[in-house]
């Protein structure tokens, strides 16, 4: 009557969901930082002639 499989599934979905979201945020953040550094480099070098 304990239905441990259901408890395990609910637990796995909660932590899996949160971890997936955290990884997605990290991935998006890294991509944006890369863009930012690239833009800074371009601006530091000045306009292309």
């Amino acid at each position: 009557m304990d239905h441990l499989g259901y408890l395990f599934a609910a637990n796995a979905f909660v932590w899996g969901g949160v971890l997936y979201y955290l990884l997605m945020l990290r991935k998006r953040s890294q991509a944006l930082k890369k863009d930012l550094d690239l833009l800074k480099d371009i601006l530091d070098k000045g306009p292309a002639k």
Binding site: F13, Y21, L32, K33, D35, I42
Partner: protein, 236 residues
């Protein structure tokens, strides 16, 4: 300034540590401290994930509601950022409510889903805020997008009082509220179960603020890039 805030904010190490410790305490309370419920058995422990997920989604959508009002009133981008970030975190937790609920319901009710008022209204809430995120993703950036999103963010929140009172107003499958009752807070609940629930609610609330911090920083970083792109174009 924004960029600095974003890079520093990625730390917020105090909040991250508090969240990690709170989640650890919640896990100990859920799986070791709290006694097993006599009728439902171990599966009842899903409650300590299900209710806090619902609470965080309501909190997140309340922040969307409040930030959207402040955005329409003050026209400051900052409020739009908070609304957008909170909607995303809210949808994540609302999804977890809609997943953990059926997993809990299956062994207890014998069905994954019933078209009960509370369940249906929760699904409607999720659809509203998924539509909110789609609106933001599919339309061009600008004040009009932010305005439309703010209106939807405010209107969507009206579903939450309906969800709360639905079990009192209509005959429902979903159990009546056990924490906030007319007799008082948590009356009729085992003290250990109530304590565990509050520890879990606290831990999930910390998790909400930690995720919000990360998401807000991301949006500020995006603003920095847009600003630099504009500067680069202007200087050409």
């Amino acid at each position: 300034m924004n960029e600095e805030a974003a890079r520093e904010g990625e730390g917020s190490p105090v909040l991250i540590w508090i969240t990690a410790l709170a989640l650890l305490a919640a896990m100990v309370a859920i799986f070791i401290y709290v006694p097993t419920e006599k009728t439902e058995g171990a599966v009842q422990r899903i409650m300590y994930f299900h209710i806090p997920s619902a609470w965080v989604s309501f909190l997140a959508f309340f922040v969307v509601f409040l930030s959207s009002i402040l955005f329409l009133w003050k026209k400051e981008r900052e409020w739009d950022i908070y609304a957008h970030a909170s909607a995303e975190v809210g949808v994540l937790f609302c999804t977890l409510v809609l997943i953990t609920g059926p997993i809990w319901a299956r062994p207890i009710w014998g069905a994954w889903w019933v078209w009960d008022a509370r369940l249906t209204l929760t699904l409607v809430l999720w659809l509203i805020y998924v539509a909110y995120l789609m609106l933001r993703a599919q339309t061009d950036a600008g004040s009009m997008r932010a305005r439309y999103a703010a209106v939807l963010g405010i209107a969507g929140f009206l579903d939450i009082p309906l969800i709360h009172f639905s079990v009192l107003w209509w005959r429902a499958f979903h159990p009546l509220p056990k924490v906030i009752t007319s007799e008082g807070l948590g009356k009729g609940m085992d003290p250990a179960m109530l304590a565990t629930l509050f520890i879990s609610l606290g831990a999930f609330t910390c998790l909400y603020f930690a995720l919000m911090g990360q998401r807000v920083n991301l949006e500020k970083l995006r603003d920095d890039i847009d600003r630099l792109k504009k500067d680069a174009l202007d200087s050409d």
